[in-house]
């Protein structure tokens, strides 16, 4: 597992990066093609692509002299795992309240 400065939420929080992902839902594109679609500088686009690669949203394959980007499901799974983490957390949370209320019932009547 690589540790990067960006997490999947931060990766998706940027409009340009979301747009790159949107372009890639249509077709695989080379880094040059992607860069041409944006007004921001080529190095800036490259940096966004790097973030998306690091967070598992994009795959890069070497195709001759070109570097071809395609979507990678891993990034989305990471987001899912985050939500799954919270879901477990909240379920436990609600369960703790249940347990405490049950304990209270045994000792005395609470709620007055």
């Amino acid at each position: 597992m690589t540790h990067t400065q960006y997490d999947s939420f931060l990766a998706l929080a940027d409009k340009n990066r979301r747009e790159i992902l949107m372009l890639l839902t249509k077709e695989k594109s080379s880094i040059n093609t992607l860069a041409d679609a944006f007004e921001i500088s080529r190095p800036a686009v490259s940096k966004h692509i790097k973030v998306l690669v690091d967070t598992g949203f994009i795959n890069i394959e070497e195709r001759g002299r070109e570097r071809l980007c395609s979507l990678n499901a891993k990034g989305f799974e990471e987001v899912q795992s985050w939500i799954g983490h919270f879901e477990k957390y909240w379920t436990q949370h609600l369960s703790s309240l249940d347990e405490l209320l049950k304990k209270g019932e045994k000792k005395s009547e609470h709620g007055k």
Binding site: M1, H3, Q5, Y6, D7, S8, F9, L10, A11, L12, A13, K15, R18, L21, M22, L24, T25, K26, E27, S70, L71, A73, F76, E77, V79, Q80, W82, I83, G84, H85, F86, E87, Y89, W90, T91, H93, L94, S95, S96, L97, D98, E99, L100, L101, H110, G111
Partner: protein
């Protein structure tokens, strides 16, 4: 694919009791890890933090702020977090709703607003080309979006 969390839990207790357990600082400390560190005040604008186990992309600090308090009906707070202080990539809302039912209370907890998801995910889900690039497993997960309300009990 899930974008939000919706949970329900039934407590065979009066709505007064449940509301008290949700808002009283001393009671909260006994069951809620979010309120372990600082005494809670059920007033809009009240801010507190809670430190949880760190996770990849998250330093474990929850930044919380009460958004809405409707006695015995609703309690909502903002939950933010990120990889390090000052960088809050997670910007979400947690809402409790209390509904009287069958001589008790159904507590509905939702956790919504996962930042980045709103735009990106909706767009992806709407996008027809999605299936071409993703595995069947993910497609299956996508279909589950209609069933992402869980009844825990």
């Amino acid at each position: 694919m899930k974008k939000e969390i919706h949970l329900k839990w039934f407590y065979p207790h009066s709505i007064d009791t449940i509301w008290e357990y949700l808002t009283d600082a001393d009671l909260l400390k006994q069951w809620s890890t979010i309120h372990r560190d600082e005494p809670f005040q059920a007033e809009p604008g009240f801010q507190w933090t809670s430190t949880q186990k760190a996770r990849r992309g998250w330093d474990g600090i929850m930044y919380l702020e009460v958004l809405e308090v409707v006695p015995k009906e609703k309690l909502a707070y903002a939950l933010k977090g990120g990889p390090r202080p000052g960088e809050l990539s997670l910007d979400t809302v947690v809402t409790y709703k209390l509904v009287e039912k069958n001589g008790g209370v159904e507590l509905q907890l939702s956790h919504t607003g996962f930042q980045g998801l709103k735009g990106a995910f909706t767009a992806f889900i709407m996008e027809k080309g999605w299936g071409k690039f993703f595995s069947k497993r993910l497609m299956k997960a996508l279909n589950e979006i209609q069933h992402d309300t869980h009844t825990v009990r």
